[in-house]
Subunit: 118 residues, 2 copies
């Protein structure tokens, strides 16, 4: 059973392969914290219908991840980038000359971009 | 029209969503340089059958990329990581103390891993 964060990540990666209705329901529930009852009211379907849609959509998303593993791959990259950021923060840049300081700044900015884009 | 490298990349990302037959044919043609005729002989289907399979498989792969854009996303990350590597190579590490040198080495190794894993 994945947590809300994991489902959100699966949606980011594979959400466009769901039906519009499935995507809408998952988005309301996991990204906007609507209850099943509230979604049912809004979309004029039964609570059970909402539940079934969520269940099917989650099975679909997990199926794509089992086959492609791209969330796992991206997450590993992100962890590596975060580790690199830790090493950058450990640098004692006071002792460096201006050219080195500037390059370190660019390295820092680049790594931060990689982390935020994943 | 994608080149062989791009098709290979699409296969790395979305190949598991093709049929086994489609994957096999694309793999023989694009990763192992078999001609359509050679594949047809090996799999006991017509050259036209091979051609049709390749065409359909490529449409499928492109469809996944159009919807998910993950090859594009990963490629952008790789370019960023390569740019960071360039800045690392520009550092004048001769002037640094041992602690800084060690951290720079770890940063270099981490970035190289990110580039190679994409």
């Amino acid at each position: 059973m994945e947590n809300v964060f994991e489902i959100s990540l699966l949606m980011d990666f594979y959400g466009q392969l769901l039906t519009d209705r499935q995507y809408e329901i998952l988005d309301l529930h996991y990204n906007n914290d609507y209850s099943l009852g509230e979604i049912g009211e809004q979309l004029n379907i039964s609570r059970q219908g909402v539940f079934d849609n969520i269940k099917r959509a989650r099975i679909t998303l997990n199926g794509f991840e089992e086959k492609l593993g791209l969330v796992k791959k991206f997450s590993a990259q992100k962890r590596k980038a975060q580790e690199i950021l830790k090493y950058i923060n450990e640098l004692n840049i006071e002792k460096m000359d201006e050219d080195n300081k500037e390059s370190i700044n660019k390295i820092y900015e680049g790594i931060t971009e990689i982390i935020n884009d994943i």
